[in-house]
């Protein structure tokens, strides 16, 4: 399978009055056609900023200060605004936690979809209408609801509308940023099932951004775990949950309640999330790492390919290349 998107040493900083927040600080990443990568991280990990930067949507005072975002040979980090606009929605699409806040309350859902489609594609009115009908049924919205206004939709339905808008132009890549975080668990399940169905039928790659690692395990082929603006572990999902090589991965998984286990001992990671204006020298996880050594305080470990398709950013695995 070919690589769809490749990110090299991406750096995105926010220039605030208090200092420079290094939200994304040297991220290497790639995703293949049709693949789903779960991007997991807690607050302050940089996962949302990373998602936004792929479409150059990082709000000021943030900016991309270094690195490359290669999509089909084009570096999205550098290309002109005009060309990015052609990509947005059409080749790469993004959906957010509450799609409703970005909708015009005076426009019917149908109209939103029509507008989205016709901005990028030349279709006749009839063709566009047909497309809208298909889309609505694909996401499980009864066709007559197309005439409704945004506020008339409930939680799960809103997310469905969001999905419809996101896939309307058949993008190669869909970025979902905490897309189901505000949903109740049953609706979340339904929406996740829908997304799985759609990614198959549209042969779409997905970057699923979430703080909930259990949720991500239900949908991702690969896991990319972020901490303090960097990816610390990047591996196929099954292998990640079995091996969780990085100390942070282990700590995180140990702190997540697993409903299938009885007599679980929940633990937590000591210390506090890092200060992104003055991150720790050396390895960012060093102050909280139970296996830290002196070397970790001085040098920042590189991403090491421990085995094919499995990367860990930790000195423990420096010599363990299999």
């Amino acid at each position: 399978m070919q690589t769809l998107l490749e990110v090299r040493n991406l750096k995105v900083y926010y220039y605030l009055e208090d200092g420079i927040v290094k939200a994304v600080d040297g991220v290497n990443f790639f995703i293949r056609k049709g693949e789903t990568v779960g991007l997991v991280g807690e607050s302050g990990s940089g996962k949302s900023t990373f998602g936004l930067s792929l479409l150059r949507l990082v709000p000021t005072p943030g900016k991309i200060v270094g690195g490359q975002i290669l999509f089909n040979g084009t570096d999205l980090a550098r290309v002109e605004e005009r060309r990015i606009r052609l990509l947005r929605g059409k080749r790469i699409s993004m959906v957010f936690q509450d799609p409703m806040t970005s909708l015009n309350p005076l426009m019917r859902i149908e109209e939103h979809l029509m507008e989205t489609i016709r901005i990028q594609e030349r279709l006749t009115q009839k063709e566009a209408e047909r497309r809208v009908k298909t889309l609505l049924s694909e996401v499980g919205i009864p066709p007559e609801r197309g005439k409704d206004y945004p506020h008339q939709f409930s939680g799960g339905m809103r997310q469905r509308v969001g999905i419809a808008l996101g896939i309307a132009l058949n993008p190669d890549l869909l970025i979902a940023d905490e897309f189901t975080s505000a949903l109740d668990v049953i609706v979340q399940f339904q929406i996740l099932s829908l997304m799985k169905k759609l990614r198959a039928s549209h042969n779409m790659a997905m970057i699923f951004i979430s703080h909930d690692i259990s949720l991500v395990s239900e949908i991702a082929d690969k896991i990319a775990l972020m901490y303090a603006g960097q990816i610390v572990e990047f591996a196929p999902a099954v292998a990640f949950f079995e091996e969780h090589l990085h100390p942070y991965s282990r700590g995180l998984l140990d702190s997540v309640p697993n409903i299938e286990l009885s007599d679980q001992t929940l633990s937590y990671i000591p210390g506090m999330p890092p200060d992104l204006i003055n991150p720790p020298s050396g390895c960012r996880f060093y102050p909280r790492c139970p296996e830290a050594e002196d070397k970790c305080r001085e040098k920042d470990p590189p991403l090491i390919e421990v085995k094919p398709e499995y990367w860990v950013k930790c000195f423990k695995y420096e010599r363990k290349r299999r």
Partner: protein, 331 residues
């Protein structure tokens, strides 16, 4: 029914909120509409137990919590604390009640007065109830701050909430709730706004306080996995009613109500190898203004029978000792 050791009992608790209508709406429709947030909830909690109210948004669990601590008045029903009826206590009697029953809120970023220093905020209950002043008050505050892990307490004493992280603020909220040495604490989603890797720390704190002081918790959460970890008893709520209630072990080993089963199946598990489950459930939670007739769950239930549409099922025990109860016509 007076049983020994029963710390809290609620009987037939109801809370209806009138729906705010616009002027035109009021002109065209005289009918008063109500959000039936809590619609007949009854349960008993014994001293030293962790009793969880579990459900999705709109099920009434948060409102029930507020009713228990008497922040709002019930529309109907009765509340008993240590076998004394507190349903309509007001004024000084209610203030007295607050020494025994406290609440921790969900949002640590909003539950602290932004203009009050931590020390002042935590010591305020002592001042209100005239239990300690001056140096003695400060000493008690420092003590409880240390107890919840905010050390050095002297430093935290003089900080403002905005200088603390979410997890630290929640500890302050816990300290404030605990300083009066209450017997019953309602915890309303206390960890849902805390980072995942720090949640267990708060839970551990709550459990250690419980063991030390023989506290009773009413733990409100939407996360069944957390409920499994921390509870002794669990009540599953849907649209203002309890649909299943029992010991933790019973609920997880033998879930009966179709809603409970759907909830369990829908919870993500951190293990991609597990077989993907199906849930036997359609649609979304309906509005609590005009809830479905009969069994409120029937429109979404794959096992609905004819009588589910008209007859309201009541909670009845599944077995002889009456501990595991379900409100469903299937049983």
């Amino acid at each position: 029914m007076k049983e020994k050791d029963v710390e809290l009992e609620v009987v037939g608790l109801k809370k209806y909120f009138p729906v705010q209508k616009s002027f035109l709406e009021r002109v065209f429709s005289r009918k008063l509409e109500y959000v039936q947030a809590v619609n007949g909830v009854s349960f008993r909690v014994k001293r030293g137990q962790v009793f969880s109210l579990v459900g999705e948004s709109g099920c009434g669990k948060t409102t029930t919590g507020r009713l228990i601590v008497r922040l709002i008045d019930p529309t109907d029903g009765r509340i008993f604390f240590k076998n004394e009826e507190v349903t309509s206590w007001q004024g000084e009697k209610l203030r007295e009640f607050r020494k025994f029953v406290q609440i921790i809120f969900q949002n640590p970023y909003a539950s602290l007065n932004p203009r009050m220093k931590i020390g002042e905020a935590v010591g305020h209950p002592l001042e209100i109830h005239r239990l300690a002043t001056g140096e003695q008050k400060k000493r008690l505050v420092v003590q409880i701050l240390e107890k919840v892990g905010l050390e050095p307490a002297e430093k935290f004493y003089n900080l403002y909430p905005f200088e603390l992280s979410g997890g630290q603020r929640q500890r302050v909220a816990i300290a404030r709730a605990m300083i009066l040495n209450p017997e019953l604490v309602v915890a309303d989603e206390p960890i849902s706004m805390i980072d995942v890797s720090l949640r267990a720390k708060i839970l551990e704190l709550m459990l250690s306080l419980k063991n030390e002081r023989n506290l009773t918790y009413v733990f409100i959460t939407h996360d069944l996995a957390v409920a499994k970890y921390i509870s002794d008893w669990i009540a599953i709520m849907y649209l203002g009613e309890i649909v299943e209630i029992g010991r933790k072990e019973d609920i997880f080993s033998n879930p009966c109500h179709p809603y409970t089963k759907a909830l369990l199946a829908a919870i993500p598990v951190p293990d991609p190898k597990k077989a993907k489950k199906e849930i036997q459930l359609k649609g979304e939670v309906p509005s609590s203004i005009n809830p479905p007739s009969g069994c409120k769950f029937h429109p979404r239930c794959n096992f609905a029978m004819k009588k589910c549409r008209s007859l309201v099922p009541s909670l009845h025990p599944l077995n002889k000792d009456g501990n595991h109860q379900v409100a469903c016509h299937l049983f």
